[in-house]
Every structure is written in C-alpha cells, then in structure tokens.
Symmetry: C2
Subunit: 278 residues, 2 copies
Amino acid sequence: MYELTTVDEVRRRRRADEGATWGLVPTMGFLHDGHLALVERARRENDRVAVSLFVNPTQFGQPEDLERYPRDPERDLALLREAGADVAFSPAPEEIYPSGFQTYVNVEEVSLPLEGASRPGHFRGVATVVAKLFLQCMPDFAMFGEKDYQQLAVIRRMVADLNIPVDIIGVATVREADGLAMSSRNAYLMPEERSKAPALFKAISGAADAISKGGDVAAAVAAAREKIRDAGFGKVDYVEARHAETLAPLGSHDEPGRILAAAQLGRARLIDNVAIPR
Amino acid sequence: MYELTTVDEVRRRRRADEGATWGLVPTMGFLHDGHLALVERARRENDRVAVSLFVNPTQFGQPEDLERYPRDPERDLALLREAGADVAFSPAPEEIYPSGFQTYVNVEEVSLPLEGASRPGHFRGVATVVAKLFLQCMPDFAMFGEKDYQQLAVIRRMVADLNIPVDIIGVATVREADGLAMSSRNAYLMPEERSKAPALFKAISGAADAISKGGDVAAAVAAAREKIRDAGFGKVDYVEARHAETLAPLGSHDEPGRILAAAQLGRARLIDNVAIPR
C-alpha cells in the first residue's frame, strides 16, 4: 500500500504472516460510510484487513446496470488508506472469470424470494464471487453490511453448507441523518427524489414497531407499502415480513423477524430492511 | 487409527501438524485395488493420507441405486490400514447435509454430456460433496481415479473456477487381468456377465488405436458401439470421442482425445474410458 495490489499478493502476504488474523471486506467499490464501518469493524477484530473492489458482472441482470454502476477507484483508495485497510485489490473481470469459467454456487431457498424474485440469477452471481474471494484470500473473518440483508443471509447459508472456513460478521446499516440507508446507488437520486427517499426506512420501521407491539403482520406490511407509494416512490417491488434467517414468510410473532422492502425512486431502486424488535 | 474417525478430528490433526502435507482420497467405500492405488499414490506424495468413505446421496438419481450401493466398512478399514492410510472417516448423511442444507455447486458445460445426460443432477451432487470434503479437510492434494473420467474433469474445472486451494491428481485406471476396469459396481455382475465385461475396454481401446492411426472418428466410434452390442451388452448409453479436458466433441486429430463409453450389462451399468494415443 498505498496502491491497489493483486489477489496473488494478498495470498502471499496472508501466508507470510501465519499467526495474524485477516478480515476481508468484499465491496463493489464507490465506497461510502457504510463500507468504511465494515473496514473499521474488520480493523477492530483482526490484525490485517483486506478490501476487494470488484463490480461483479455475474450478479447484474441487464448489461446496462453493470456499465452504469458508479466507480471511483482513486477516491476509494484514498478512503481506504484513511480507514486503515492494509491491502486493497481490484481484480479485472477476466481474472475472476477466465475463459472457460463455468462453475456457479447456488444457494436455493433463501435466494428465491424478494431480491431473488426481482433479480433472477443475482444471488448465484453473489454467492459464486464471494466463494471465490474467500477461497482466494482465505480470511478468518469477512464483513458484510445488513443493508443487503438477503445477501448476508445467502452468504451465511453458503458458508455453513459448503464448510467454508470463514466467520461471517453482519454489520448494522449506516444511515444518513434523515434515516436513508447509505448505498452507492443513492448517487442516482435527483435532489427532489433524495428528499423523498427516507420515507422507505420510516415506513418499514413503522411496520416493525406495529408488529412488535402485537399488530397484525399483513396489515402492518400493507400500511408500509401504502406509505411508500404515498411518499412518491414508483414501483414497489416488495414489502415483506420474513423470518430473520430463512427469509421464509414470518410464521408467528415469536420468530426472529425482519421487514424488507425494495422500491423504485426515479432512476434508483432502493432497498432497505429493519429488525422487528422483540 | 485404526478405527473410523470424524471430520472434526481430521481437521484438528490437520491443524496440529502444520508443516505436514496431506493427501485426501474421497471414496464411496467398498474399496478395491483402484482405490488402493489412489491411497498408495497419496502416501507417496504426502506426509499424511486421509480417506473418506461416504456414499453420497445427492449424486444418486433413484433412491434404489443409493440403497443397493454395496457397502463393507469393516473390510474397507482393514484394507486402508494395510495400505497405510493415516485416517479414515465416514460421515453420516445428516452430518454432510444437515437440516436446512440448500447450497449446491454446479459445473456447467463439462457436466452436461455423457454421464451428465444419462444421470441428471449426478455431477451437481459430486461437485457439491467434493467441495465440502475439500473445505472440511483442506488437503494439499486429492486423488481421483481416471476410471470416472468425467468426474475428474468436473472436479478439475470446479477447483480451478472456485479457486479451491487443492491440487487434483488423476490416477490411471486399475484393471483386472482381462482388462475390465475395477469398479465397486462389478459386484453386480453374474458370472456369465463378468466374462463378457472386458469387451467394453477392448472395444474402446480398438477405437482409440484406429483414431490415433488417422482413422475416421465417427467410424471408429460406431465400430466400438457395434462390438459392445455384439459382446452381449444391453443398452449402450454412449460411446464417444471427446476432447480430453473439455469433453466437447473431438474437433480434430490434433486435440488431446479420450474415448468414453457406458453400457448396461445385466444389473450393472459399466463405464470406461481410454486416452487416444498421440
């Protein structure tokens, strides 16, 4: 450091200091405070911190989404230096998916609803690239934000099912002062959209509170959906109360629950989620 | 040793002697000289040898095939002691696939033809269990017989694609004196079938020779198929000349080639393959 290194170099360093524990923070770059909270958490719990910056083509549906995904590697590197990451690497797509590549990791049930229904193949791409990054770097820990809650659930399931020897740490969503979850995709919001955006968090928080107080699940979710529409969002892909681990429909008030939502606002598709307090 | 141990114990021992290299021989048990050749090869190239005995349910199509698969764990253990394996473990199906398990590894193109066409889902089961065994034990090397040639190709592809840090060693098929490839499934053959069985190897060896001498590929393969039928086999699932790595149809005499065949003989479905000499 401080420039980008290669995965081979990360592995070499990983092997060179055997005793040290490593934390990996996999990202798609265009870093914000949410990512930096992951780096900070990794820093706190490990001797070394590696950060990957890779806009993963296999998790995008439309090629246009992939191409327009925001990128700023120089700024990312400056932020990572400041945050105290030890190494950062940004592999080329053809390094991760060389000619002849044909192996994918499929996590089944937990990948199907919600984002999986809206974005077919998305979690296959996520699981595959994360498995590869884990097996390339062999970190002791890996940090993921709760913002992409279903992604976190998919990765936890994958790691358990395939016996990948990495401990997964979920880190609470970092929010703007008005509650909007930080996301690289917020960059797509026009100013007037930005002012409407916090309504998503407010609506699902309201639903979570209502349910935790014994309120009817379907009614709470329907009310949240209504509020999101009223706030000026476009298509609401889903607002759902789900089991916090399996993401199956919430069976009773006794299960650990999560409210998850996705809705379009201008050019941005925003997602968010909150725990149902118990 | 010498009794069966657990995967946790293998991992513990693996970590305890850091400097030692480990070879893993994954098997479905009911061992024969083909397996023991793998153990011997592993022995020669590693400080420690672990052998797994696991009849993997996810690679069987029909439940009956799984149930009737031959088993003899006590004999296996005696053979492994004699062959010098350091540890053997035989996990229960519910240890490998606990409740809620839902993650599978799919190797695409190379899994599709030949065995993949005859046994849908077979290689998904193979790739998944082998990935799990690798990640549980983290061996330096793993040995597989060329007898299951497509399986070897699938595993090589998986390990390369997912960056699994294990070196795959393919070991030549061990044959009976009359050329029949050793296989646990030979136990299904009645005596008169057993005497017909070597015709499979003879037929594909003839085709390989003809092609290596510049003969027409389609003609050589058709002649082999004819000979297998004439020898008294039942359904011939396939006889094919394929690229030795990708298993795509053989494009020219310059590519590394392999003849692969599968045919039914009584209750046994026999498979075999040979290199096309260059």
